[in-house]
Symmetry: C2
Subunit: 270 residues, 2 copies
């Protein structure tokens, strides 16, 4: 089922109301709640949407970095978005998400014009059968945000409940109900992987993303043309230690074209 854009739960969860130049008011949505506060991916997408919505924007996003500084309480929040530097072809934004004058999240976004150049992809997508060959995982009731995604695991499904020698997960993922891909939804999908420490230990421990960076390799037209087809998503940790691990992930089209490369640093207690 595809819901009309605008009425889709993702759009409702990331909608912002402008309150003066560069100031936007949003609200958390129970549909996208995580263990504590909202799913980080929806927060990141909402911050990006402030830039996407801003009439001062000169180009599409190239990258976003989101720093999760403190918990977000249920209810309203304010995003302040400032284009700190606008050049001829690039624009640099700084953003904060606040509640009661306390900053909960910061972000920087780089926008820039794309043009045809020499191109090559050096990395390969992970081996995976077509989406239809992988069954959609039954999603738990909790945390709620998981029910907004259809996940077809190829490797590394948490639900095995066993410790794994590697932290790699590969899955076909799309919004549920399905929705055409765009920069905002690709940002949220970049955070769709449960914490890699769960997979290594075979159990859930306290874990939360500290900082997330997304590089967009696809332009707006490529994302729109891809529509609501499942995205091939793969993630792994590189190093765990001293209470933190990093995760490196890629999102691919079903034709082996890279959409996004993304990295995050995650706090854990184990």
């Amino acid at each position: 089922m595809t819901t009309e854009t605008g009425a889709h739960p993702f759009d409702l969860a990331t909608v912002l109301k402008q309150d003066g130049e560069g100031r936007y008011v949003g609200h958390t949505t129970p549909d996208y709640s995580n263990m504590v506060g909202p799913f980080g991916g929806i927060t990141a997408a909402t911050l990006l949407r402030a830039v996407l919505d801003d009439p001062r924007r000169i180009a599409d996003p190239l990258s976003i970095t989101v720093n999760f500084a403190g918990p977000i309480a249920d209810g309203l929040f304010t995003i302040d978005a400032l284009p700190v530097r606008t050049n001829r072809t690039t624009q640099h934004w700084s953003l904060t998400l606040s509640q009661n004058d306390s900053v909960a999240t910061t972000a920087t976004v780089v926008c820039g014009l794309r043009r045809a150049t020499w191109a090559d992809t050096e990395i390969d997508p992970p081996a995976a059968p077509p989406p239809d060959a992988a069954p959609a995982a039954a999603m738990p009731e909790y945390p709620a945000w998981l029910r907004n995604y259809e996940m077809r695991f190829v490797e590394g499904n948490l639900l095995s409940g066993q410790a794994s020698p590697t932290s790699t997960s590969t899955l076909w993922v799309r919004d549920a109900p399905s929705r055409a891909l765009d920069f905002a939804s690709a940002t949220a999908m970049s955070d769709v992987f449960f914490p890699r420490i769960f997979l290594r230990l075979g159990t859930m421990v306290a874990a939360s993303t500290v900082t997330l960076t997304v590089y967009f390799h696809a332009d707006a037209q490529t994302l729109a043309d891809y529509g609501d087809r499942p995205v091939l998503a793969t993630a792994r940790a590189q190093h765990f230690g001293n209470g933190y691990f990093d995760q490196s992930a890629h999102l691919w089209t079903d034709a082996a074209r890279p959409l996004v490369t993304t990295h995050q640093l995650v706090y854990f207690k184990a």
Copy 2:
């Protein structure tokens, strides 16, 4: 030769003078100049140093993201460093580097307490002979910043002048004159790789880093204990297209311990 800390060119290039709470004045140094403006790694290290120097800092750095928003002219610059959120164990900083009230660079830094936890490294260092077995590359006169590093290439030296089928470079690197490793110098070393597009095309084209992120896997003691021994550095691009490519890189000790994982998005014209 090891120069006394403080008098080392790296320390002189990143030195800041405090001018009120959270405000620091620095200056560019001809020794670290690049094609246009300073070497990005020295700018990143100088921004980190503003946080390292700040008496409000509660813990060591976990990560830094630097956005290169515009050119930095030769001369003085001002860094404004704001701890936007201080928690019990983590602290989030936002920074700008300005000249004449125009923002040239933005950055965010996350600091956080480290403690002993479950640990594992999933990635492997690249194959490399010991540093002494790789000759130190003769450095060109221009750009000047290269002469501040001793580089012993194992793979992917630009100077071959031939197009390469992959963008991987691996080298042993240290400051020249040698200097004990710390967060600031590890940040600069994270940007020590020439643009990967040069290697693929076998020629130099216009290229500049748009945004750079560094995750610090080593703590201050580990860095200090490593001293001035060469660091094993490896970098590759993942995707080139539409005027941008991303680079993923690692810095390792000579005992296969990860010091840093780092990523950047780079503009190019080709």
